[in-house]
């Protein structure tokens, strides 16, 4: 019986080690930090080059599109402008089709990396939320 338990224990240990190792290596590549604008801008140098998802609100009137292209420049701030305390602001660049709800004051999550001057949003990296209505949509979509 003891021999059997050793075998089971050894197999379990190997499986757990392999699983942990694989999980560790894939997590290092596949994760990004979910941050708010204020958190990033408190010490932007620390976050440069790291994969980030930044949560914020589009600064009204800041969206600019280069004519006849899909290139966008805009600003995102920590809180909505209507709150009276918009918080820190970050400049962002994106090339591609933006979501339908990407409007002034839209709540957005940007995926990409921070460079010295601007947040470089990756392709399909602009996710705009619709706080009031989308909730019901997804709630019933999934459950």
């Amino acid at each position: 019986m003891t021999h059997r338990y050793i075998k089971i224990g050894a197999t379990a240990a190997v499986l757990i080690l392999a699983f942990t190792g694989l999980m560790w290596s894939t997590l290092r590549e596949g994760t990004s930090y979910f941050m708010y604008v204020d958190e990033v801008m408190a010490n932007p140098q620390a976050w440069e080059g790291k994969p980030l998802q930044i949560h914020g609100y589009v600064v009204p009137g800041s969206r600019m599109k280069k004519p006849d292209t899909l290139e966008w420049q805009f600003k995102v701030q920590n809180n909505p402008a209507r709150s009276g305390q918009p918080g820190q602001v970050i400049d962002a660049y994106y090339k591609g089709i933006v979501p339908d709800t990407f409007n002034d004051e839209a709540e957005v999550v940007l995926k990409g990396r921070l460079t010295a001057n601007v947040f470089q949003t990756e392709p399909n990296g602009v996710i705009a939320k619709c706080p009031s209505k989308y909730e019901a949509a997804k709630a019933s979509a999934g459950l």
């Binding site: 994760t31 990004s32 392709p123 619709c130 997804k138 999934g142 459950l143």
Partner: protein
Amino acid sequence: MASLGSFLLLTAFVVCSYAAIVSVVGARRRARHLIESGIGAFYLVMALMAAASAIMINAFLTDDFSIKYVAHNSDSVQPLFYKITSYWGGLDGSIMFWVFLLSIFGSCAVYVNRERHRELIPYVVATISTVQMFFLYLMVVHNNPFTTSLTNVPTEGEGLNPILQNYWMVIHPPSLYTGFVGMTIPFAFCIAALITGHLDDSWLRAVRRWTMVSWLFLSLGLTLGMIWAYEELGWGGYWEWDPVENAGLLPWFTATAFLHSVMVQERRSMLRVWNVTLVIVTFFLTIFGTFMTRSGVVQSVHAFGKDETLTILFTAFMIVILVFSFGLVIYRLPLLRARNELDSWVSREAEFLVNNWILLFCAFFVLFATMFPTLSEAVTGKRLTVAAPFYNKWMVPIGLVMLFLTGVGPLLAWRRSTVVNLRNQFLWPTTAAVVTGAALSALGIQLWASGLCFALCAFVVTTITQEFLRGGQVRRKNTGTDLLTAIIGLVGRNKRRYGGYIVHVGIVLILLGFAGNAYKIDQQVLLKLGEQTTVGSYTIRNDGVKVDDDGQKQMMTAYVTVFRGGKEIDKMYQAKWFFHKHDETPTTETAIRRSFSEDLYLVYSFDKDHLKTQSASLQIVINPLVDWVWLGFGVLALGTGIALLPERAYSFALAKMPAEATATTAVGLLLVLLLGTGTTLSAQHATGTVDEAIQTSYFARTPFERQMQHEIVCTCGSCGHSTIAECRKDPCGTSHKLRGELAALIDQGKTRDEIIKWFTTEYNSEEMLGAPIDTGFSRLAWLFPYLVGATGAIVIGFAAVRWSHKGDQQPEGPTAADAALDERLDDELRNLD
């Protein structure tokens, strides 16, 4: 009416509580009238929920905007169809719909099993009632869908979210709910079996079909969700590992595992603890999935409302489920011990075990990854997110292993596979996989991961084809019909097994579609008027942008012409619709040009400048093989439908089959099957060129021969000692031979005793006799049941006398239940198979 609705919900809660309490008390005191009262109350909950639902739908139909839920999810101009479906369009209504469905499912399950599993039913009623109580409590105290606006009653509603105004979305939530709710039934039976200690395999038989039905609805719900995301959300894909999607997938994994492992318990009496655990975990995951999507505990790219109260209530409920269920499992561990051990790792049960581990791993991996942001925030204080690439990195290899096991399973024998058996079984499937892999490599398709997936698909399809052909050939020899008729007869004779194979074909097609994703092309372009671009083999020209208004919405449509090989092949119109009441959330109307090789998928992104410049921003996606995913689900549903066909319905169909049934019938039937009408019939009694001797050995010609076929047991070793009259599920060579010998003996005019003597002498054993010979020592075997019966009667009598002195409760007289008991026993005996 809103007050009546609230009152009905409150009444349903009270009645549920009564049903739960009275059922448990009735079961403990063995008081039939209390148990019946509990069942009656349980049915009443269904009636109350139906009435509450009718009030809610009526409120939607009559535009009663004083009810906040109606005002929030409907408006007066909404089409009638969407007014009705708005019932489950929002959070509060969806919880109510959940309870309504559960009450229907629960009532059906109790009604069907009330006699057959009489000892379990009180606890089944109590368990389902407790789950209903939880959701009713949520509604009564927290999410009442009948809450009204006391002041400022709106004169118009806000309308259902436009993206939900889609026919897929109309049937997707009910389907998914049905799948989720249905998993409560196996859980309730499992808890009842654990409490009562009736842990033989009978409770499994009661829940197997329910699990299969729920699994089918869960699969349907997930597929419809994918189709909806693909057609309506307009991002070019159908699965993004979003927490909301994952919530539906988690119980699917564990339910799939259960549907496999239940076979091991039926065949080998193994994995008993495992099966109980899977049923509990599956139910737990349905509740956990609901918790994830409702409480906002998981951060998603989609906005979830954070709800602290809901979080606390769900957490408490989940803790109760886990502690109570696994407490019972630990308490009943002695009764759950396996009666057999794994003979070999090269056996079907071992393969099922590995398959179960992997499926369970999938469930926990997806759960871990979904909860990872929340976990990382709790542990490190920083919210780390994981996205689709992380999931794919893990799930692609796991999916390939699962696909491989799907192919291997049917090739392995139960208990142990010999080397000869392995060589014989694996030769063609392995050849098919190697040839496919080599051909794909020669065509320049990369082997990892899509090439390997295609090769494994070939492996599995060859396996299944081989199973059908081999089974069909044996049956053809035995029945003398053509191969096609024989195969259809084979499917009819063993619907679970061959229905399961058809489900596997569906899974193969779905994975084929997933593999095609590796060759997806996704480009975003801005085309000026008349300008064209080439993506893949398609050239797309912008023909301009137009605006229309139908009163309900403004439609911005981009017109394009599609060319292929220099020839115009299509005109496509993709649009953005701005509903007047929801102009901040336009809906995407994709244009999809479908074919089985690939979809051309166009999405238009509107910009105000486009009206002036006639330029169009387009997302152009080429999705190879995507339609195989939908087709695969169709095949999966067909296979599940075949596996679910009732035995009696089939026997009836069999009996009515004309004797002249021929291949033409078979071909017709196959076409009907392929068209998805889901009916299988078999030309079982087909004659034509049947060899008279073979048929004689199969079908009893006289009542005496039938009687003898029921007295002799087949010794093939894989049928669990069925009689040679019954061992026909798989064409069994041993029983065929035995029936032939029996027929020959009868032809020689032997009597019953002579025949029995011949068999016991010939095979040197009494093992093959359905009942021991009533002489000598064997007479003890006859006496034994009577001794046990007499002892039991004495014990019961003694207990009855003892208990009758306890409290005021009078035990029921034995005669009261006799008729029902006989009926139940007959019923059980009929279902012994």
